[in-house]
Symmetry: C2
Subunit: 478 residues, 2 copies
């Protein structure tokens, strides 16, 4: 497939430039016959969805194993609720339940050019844990079983574009982690695939430009986590044209942050890519955390009742069970466990122009379920967004909570994955800081440009899911 | 530190070009006052080293834990012998002992220019498991305790060049895995650091060019595993000058394999870097292996006697205990467990020119102790080098064992890490194949250029230790 898009000098636009063009395309070339909001309202009317919490005894096909107490499905597939034990270098070990789902799934967005602008085929998808039933999802969220057994591929719409002989042109393909606080070594394949042929659009799907999707990121609980992580793995070229009539200093610094270092001193990052990797390796070397799976009965400080598994202090998330009835014409019902947080979480980047280039303050942060314990996280990442349960030593919390409203550049409440989490919401915030904020930061923190983060996202297990979600939000700021 | 080396046109040599220059430097600029072989013989005379196997009951400070039976040190430090349980998608699970050593150590080579050529400060180092007492090691092999507590850094010679305010210029810095068959999630920091100031040379150390080290790789059991992995992480520029008076077609294709794809069609790889990553992700997606730590008493098919822990079929490696007495002037003694293979292993790359560019046939291979289960491995990797214990279905074994001797381009027996393995040796082999060998290969295999492997080595957990060792051997072929 030859690419039809070109720069004014005739050279073909590379993938990153095409993503940028789509992000700047104020007028979508296609609107799927309906404006987005009409389609979205229509999808709400079309679906039926009921989720009720039930006692564990009413779970169908799920049971607590007699040896060790893990909560498992009778098929041995899907996922299991097990325990994780953590030594964090402190005086006492700790443990908690954790979701063990060793299969790699695919999160894929199909893209296609209409009138020279890439559009993404997005899905209106129900998930049992969503606070609002429907959220906007990638084209495909497929389990490994869908994905590897091609004969069953028909179960998942559009999967044929992501694997096998009918696959389109792969623009993005990378394994990325999910919540290390609650998943054991989970990773999913984040893909963007371009097609050129005709794609019939099912009623649950809609073509949107990146410009439209970026705007929708500011609506609470609309763009789901799976969509955000795929969006975060797209490379963007520096948007060289002025973005609006009055680009302020923050936006100017933000745009410079997308430039390649080869663009010259005006794109200079505080640290070289090599220095960033060395910083990250040193953080891993210092970190004393180790974690291992335990049988669920082997964790301490947690109690299982008829309805939930909760920590004895009542501060952490609980394991609950739900019954789901869902469908449009045909209704299917099932039961499953979910993890239910007690609070909204918080994920925030502090962002500071350094010599005219915006830098994000990245934290090397351990989580028990991450494959290598540490990944790069937001400046502040907390399980509760009001700071009440914060360790008093958590750095930069004040800057996030007490920021001048004019400096809060992004602030939305977005959902975590509704297939495993019940009503799990996180406040995502980008807060500008100025020259009064020191460039020197504690050893587990590092200033990085957007470009440096995008380059690392070519590989897995550098940025955690919260940092990736926030990066997708940063992409919506220009 | 400004770099004094330059291309003929005056531009500075980058790091990769400086490594290549050192690899081509037939006459070392410095010989440490002694020719290498005199120094080496002298080191043998200077040291005393005795290793005797002992029953477990004579281990000092090590014991089997009453709960679970893990073999641990009383400090809780160093390492432990635990168990690992594996589900590999087959009909029955299996388990074995595994070494759990969660700390990240540093393997570092100090380099310095003498007369414009980089030299490496190599160490004559005794390890209890070495078949031949002394092997040539990196400048530094330091544990995390040495590394992070700077006040104790003095325990390890030259460590001050690798950390803290006196660190030199970091040329290579990456976390890499070790043997996934026997280590649980072990990774070490591979570093190359350049210094410009005066470096006093202790009698156990010697400056060598990469040219000298490459030649010594052909001596059995001389360059140790820790040195090989650091050597493999060095980037080399394309050696553009003719290497010898009569460069044959194989060497010509090998040299092209070092070229950047931007060098044009003559450097073309069969697959793009993006295709290689997608191939690797698909292999991970297909792989059904999961593994987890078990208590040592929880493994099946293994029996502990007074002297060893061995598998009941007598085919796998054994856990034994040794007493060591070592030193030059002062002699220290200690006891420790070691893992003792019964056979020599085999690691072989098949290498084929494709359109004039040498490609290595890389395998995506699961091992229970690897962090993400799969890494890129040699074409053939076996625990026994005569093929006797081979699954009949192992691909490409015949090509390795029955190759025309003229096509065996590299063939040496080299040791695995002597600090944890007892007399563990692997036959490393590079075998040329020609146009009669198909370009189409099974789905878990992929043809890659040397340049593509070097680029992946900028990041951890792509190439396993056997593939990295072999890549260091490939670097010795020009």
């Amino acid at each position: 497939m030859t690419n039809q898009l070109a720069y004014p000098d005739g050279t073909a636009l590379d993938t990153a430039a095409q993503f940028t063009l789509s992000a700047l395309a104020a007028d979508p070339a296609i609107s799927a016959g309906l404006a987005f909001h009409e389609w979205w309202a229509d999808r709400h009317r079309a679906g039926r969805f009921e989720v009720v919490t039930i006692p564990f005894s009413e779970l169908d096909k799920w049971h607590f194993r007699p040896d060790g107490g893990n909560l498992v499905h009778e098929s041995g597939k899907f996922f299991a609720i097990e325990g994780v034990g953590v030594r964090d270098g402190g005086t006492s070990d700790w443990s908690r339940p954790i979701i063990n789902q060793p299969e790699i799934g695919v999160l894929g967005i199909l893209v296609k050019e209409f009138d020279g602008v890439l559009h993404c085929l997005m899905q209106a998808k129900m998930e049992p844990g969503n606070v609002n039933t429907l959220q906007l999802s990638p084209t495909v969220q497929a389990t490994r079983s869908n994905y590897t057994r091609i004969h069953r591929g028909g179960d998942t719409r559009y999967l044929e574009h992501f694997r096998g002989p009918t696959r389109g042109e792969v623009l993005v393909d990378v394994l990325q982690s999910e919540q290390g606080a609650w998943f054991w070594h989970k990773s999913n394949r984040n893909m963007v695939v371009r097609v050129t042929g005709e794609v019939p659009v099912h009623e649950d799907f809609c073509w949107l430009t990146l410009h439209q999707i970026r705007a929708l990121l500011r609506t609470d609980n609309l763009i789901n986590m799976d969509a955000r992580t795929v969006l975060s793995c797209m490379p963007f070229a520096h948007p060289s044209a002025p973005v609006g009539p009055a680009v302020d200093a923050f936006t100017d610094a933000l745009l410079r942050s997308y430039q390649s270092p080869s663009a010259g001193p005006a794109a200079a990052s505080l640290h070289t890519p090599e220095e960033v990797l060395t910083w990250f390796i040193e953080a891993k070397t210092r970190c004393e955390w180790t974690s291992r799976l335990l049988p669920l009965t082997g964790i301490t400080g947690w109690t299982r009742t008829a309805d939930e598994i909760g920590d004895d202090e009542g501060r952490s998330a609980r394991i609950i069970a739900v019954r789901v009835a869902a469908g449009n014409r045909e209704v299917t019902t099932w039961t499953q466990p979910l993890l239910a947080p007690r609070d909204h979480g918080l994920a925030a980047f502090l962002a500071r122009p350094i010599k005219g280039v915006l830098h994000l303050l990245v934290q090397a942060r351990p989580e028990p379920g991450l494959l290598d314990i540490l990944e790069m996280a937001p400046t502040v990442q907390l399980p509760n967004c009001d700071g009440s349960a914060t360790d008093s030593g958590t750095p930069f919390v004040d800057e996030v909570f007490s920021a001048d409203p004019g400096r809060v550049r992004f602030d939305s409440v977005l959902s975590e994955e509704g297939g495993r989490f019940y009503h799990s919401q996180t406040r995502y915030r980008v807060v500008e800081v100025g020259d009064e904020f020191p460039v020197e930061v504690p050893e587990n923190y590092c200033w990085m440009t957007v470009r440096q983060l995008m380059d690392l996202l070519r590989h897995g297990h550098y940025l955690n899911i919260e940092a990736r979600s926030l990066l997708a939000c940063v992409h919506s700021l220009w």
